[in-house]
């Protein structure tokens, strides 16, 4: 008797509906490669609001615009493998804060980086994944390159199911080696070439509570060493090590009578630079026939890094006036929509992000260059057997 052939997408789809049954626990029905080959393309436009004139001491108030194009292919290989190729191109234009100075009355004002930059980044990633009865494991390599930055990263992850597939345990490890060679354009830079290395570990578990609810919790630790300052900021000297910790929890609750699901997530972040943050997000996923809409909101509250000040304190060993290290709060509201048309899925998403120093739950100094932005995405996906 010849072995049975690799499961077809049809058999995978049918098998997945009964995989939770204890009768099929431990069988090859339990975990499986994707049921389809998927090819997708997505375009995102990210546009930061201009700074208000009263906050700009010098330079154009216009900030970054980024056009992001993504292409991906994911396909099953035989009965136990899947492979994915991800390509991304970012085209960035605009200016960013160079440093923060003092106005006549001593209040902070932003000096922008001058004429708009134009920068292109290309990223290529390959992922392979192996599936067995009780879990799966993946290996991923990513390379990204732009004029002044190159990164090579790898990651490994694994997930396995226990407790009759009601519990899933996940672990991952990743590492990245980055090289920064800033380009001298309208603003001076003071390094030729520097490197930084980042290593990360993650451990998580998800638990099916009932036929309609799943909870998950995850812990991660990230360590970076090397050149961690921003070479395009005049007053930015950060430590050469950075330890970061996160705790993330989530709930997925399906309401059968409504036909929709609530997605609720909380994330806590802390690092050895003194910064902490909370992120709370809530979303609702509602299918209508072939359509699905997904409105969501997110609240973010961050406390400033120890060495941050609105106007950098150059007498300290470490200092920065980078608004991203300041104390602020942010609200995000977004809407995602998809429609399934046979083997095709079209998607669109729009998101608005607004930040404000007064919305933070932490005390601290206000950075004058907090960012607000719009982000819009359209995409199309083709799935086939």
């Amino acid at each position: 008797m010849r072995p049975l052939p690799a499961r077809s997408p049809l058999v995978r789809r049918l098998s997945q509906t009964v995989a939770a049954l204890p009768v099929y626990h431990g069988s090859v029905l339990a975990d499986a490669p994707p049921a389809y080959t998927e090819v997708g393309v997505r375009y995102t436009q990210y546009a930061e609001d201009s700074l208000s004139d009263d906050k700009v001491l010098f330079g154009s108030p216009d900030r970054y615009d980024i056009d992001i194009t993504q292409l991906w292919i994911e396909a099953p290989l035989g009965a136990s493998w899947a492979v994915a190729l991800d390509l991304q191109n970012d085209y960035q234009t605009g200016a960013s804060p160079w440093f923060v100075g003092a106005t006549a009355d001593g209040s902070p004002g932003v000096i922008m980086s001058g004429a708009s930059i134009q920068d292109n980044r290309v990223e290529v990633g390959i992922t392979t994944r192996y599936f067995w009865a009780d879990g799966n494991a993946g290996f991923n390599v990513v390379h990204s390159k732009e004029d002044d930055y190159e990164a090579l990263a790898w990651s490994m992850d694994a997930a396995w199911n226990t407790n009759r597939n009601a519990t899933t345990w996940s672990v991952s490890a990743s590492s990245s080696h980055d090289t920064v060679e800033p380009t001298q354009e309208k603003i001076p830079v003071f390094i030729d070439s520097e490197t930084l290395d980042t290593h990360s570990l993650y451990f998580g578990v998800s638990q099916i509570l009932s036929r309609t609810a799943v909870v998950k919790v995850g812990l991660s630790y990230t360590y970076s060493e090397g050149f961690l300052s921003d070479p395009y900021k005049l007053r930015d000297q950060r430590p050469e090590e950075h330890h970061r910790y996160t705790l993330a929890t989530g709930l997925r609750q399906h309401f059968i009578s409504l036909g929709g699901s609530l997605h609720a997530d909380y994330r806590y972040y802390s690092d050895d630079w003194g910064s902490k943050s909370h992120t709370v997000s809530m979303g609702w996923v509602q299918p209508f026939d072939r359509h699905t809409i997904n409105p969501y909101v997110r609240y973010y509250s961050q406390g400033q890094a120890d060495f941050f000040s609105p106007i950098a304190d150059l007498t300290s060993n470490h200092y920065s006036d980078d608004y991203r290290l300041s104390s602020f709060g942010a609200l995000t509201a977004g809407l995602r929509w998809t429609i399934e048309l046979g083997d095709w899925i079209a998607e669109a998403q729009v998101e608005r992000y607004v930040s404000n120093h007064g919305w933070s739950t932490y005390s601290g100094d206000e950075a004058p260059a907090l960012v607000d932005f719009w982000r819009g995405t359209v995409g199309i996906i083709w799935r086939f057997d």
Binding site: R13, L14, S15, Y24, S27, L29
Partner: protein, 297 residues
Amino acid sequence: MGGPARVTINSVHHSAHAIKITIDGVMSRLLALEARYSRFKPDSLISQINARAGTGVFTPIDLETQSLIDLSDQLWRETNGLFDPTVGVMNQLWDFRTGRANTHVQLVDLLEKVGWDRVEIDESGIRLPEAGMEIDFGGLVKEFAADAAAAILREAGFQSALIELAGDIVAIGMNSHDGPWKVGIRDPQGPANSIVSVKLTNAAVCSSGNYARRFYHKGKFVSHLLHPRTGQPIDGPCSVTVVGESALIAGALATVGCLQDEVHAESWLRQSGLPWLMIDKKNQCYGPLGYRPSKPS
């Protein structure tokens, strides 16, 4: 479940007592599934659901029933509604003894009682919105029972066994001669004979067909399987057999094969990617398990 059940076990490591306990466990499980899902038993879960049709009352369901519902839902969508667990009421259209339509029953009246997409499922359970609606998982439960029996034997450590439930067969390991289990596929012309033999090792083989239950209509034998939107007998193949990892999936694929005409059945079976056999109305065999790879188009 309306048919014979046989379990064959080969073991030199298990005592007779252990084997008996395991067999008793298998029988208990099969009887429990029959008690739960048989529409002929008035206190079964299915009978409770059907009895409450049109009353607005939900019947609570557990993970096992939810999974069978999910599979039914997937099959309904994969077949554009051809696989429909609510189609049973359409049998009222026919007098199967005479092959004539029951003139006192109108299709338009029955159409209100058919439609899987109308079945309501929420946190409270399942309910049928119209009085007279019925659901029947008979197309899936027998195969699920065969898998459940195999799971009990595997958990008990048996590495060689054959479970046969009225034509749905699950093979565990090798037979007593260290070879694959050899299973015959029934000849529709002479059900006591085998038309093709299949060798199984850790696999299942399931057949669906109309040769056992069919009626004579307009000069020919037709299937007892009725189209959920027209109530007409489906002009499908005589028999479809599929070999798969589990009886539930193999049986579901075979059942759906019999719900279509022979051309679409072959396309469906090819899509499954599994070994299959289709016996057409002329008793010709097609498919990887048969004598001919495909039916001439």
